[in-house]
Subunit: 134 residues, 3 copies
């Protein structure tokens, strides 16, 4: 059994996609699991996980800007904390992702990286990594 | 091996997010699994699963209202049953979610709860819960 | 341990949802796993996986058209390859899905099918299928 590992992720603005691929790769190596599945889980309700192109940072910016266009900061929301947009974006993108593991390697495609999506920063966040063998 | 468990969920309006956290917690306890992963799966094409803030019910209302703004009930859809909006919302939110289990406890964040999203109610629905050990 | 299986999927237009349910079912049978979880993973950053109604092909068309309305092809994106819309759609729909397996059978609902979503075709794509027992 592989223990859950916790990453610390720090955002320095309200909305940003942070590439955590290397940390997830290291966690999988540390788990000792060579075949199975890696799960990346966000325990926050205004953050999310996505797997996207990591080669050109403009892709992450386009995603962030497009989401803000679709779900504006102010739109007559009921929730009084002023961050309802962040909650909606988090539900659209999703709180977790999985990646198959083969021969000790994450089966990411050529252009794929794993991103923590901050929608209500700046904040100190945690990301959980769980590995199942099989 | 933990058997799949089935929850009955009843919605009483067309669109509503229903907090099923307690039922999922009970299913994990019943499984006897102390370390692994819990999956919450919606076998319906006009419903979905999301993990979101459970403290303030206004967050769930804001999510529902925002989705309806993005994907209106009537928009010249081809599907003749009058619920295409619900299908689109279901694909945006997603049919399942996973939560790591540590020491018999779901690793939900402080503010997180698990919600069944009804997009074409009122209906009687099922949610499947599967637990993997490891 | 069940080896990862790879499906070849060919799209013949820019945007299309392709039903891969039969191939996933065959992969689960080939794995020999009778109880566990099947994961369907897209290793591409302009494609995605969704579980949706497979009975009426108009549902898939409505989803594709609605996504294009929400995330237009041209919207002043920064990424210079002209396919930022496809990246955004991929993050909204998600790179993978899971389905519980019970008695050798995928626990899909009556109307559910598994779809590869092409957002930047036509292309030759791969979809990975991983099965965990338990």
């Amino acid at each position: 059994m592989a223990q859950i590992q916790t990453l610390a992720v720090k955002s320095d603005c309200r909305e940003v996609l942070i590439n955590i691929t290397r940390s997830v790769t290291n966690a999988v190596t540390a788990s000792g699991v060579t075949d199975g599945v890696a799960y990346v889980y966000c325990p926050h309700t205004t953050g999310a996980i996505t797997i996207q192109e990591a080669a050109d940072p403009d892709v992450a910016l386009d995603i962030s800007h497009t989401l803000t266009g679709l779900v504006p900061l102010d739109a007559g929301y009921r929730h009084a904390e002023g961050n309802s947009d962040a909650h909606v974006k988090a539900s659209l993108v999703g709180s977790s992702d999985m990646i198959p593991i083969d021969g000790g390697r994450l089966c990411l495609g050529t252009w794929q990286g794993i991103f923590f999506c901050e929608f209500d920063g700046p904040r100190n966040r945690k990301v959980l990594i769980k590995v199942l063998e099989g």
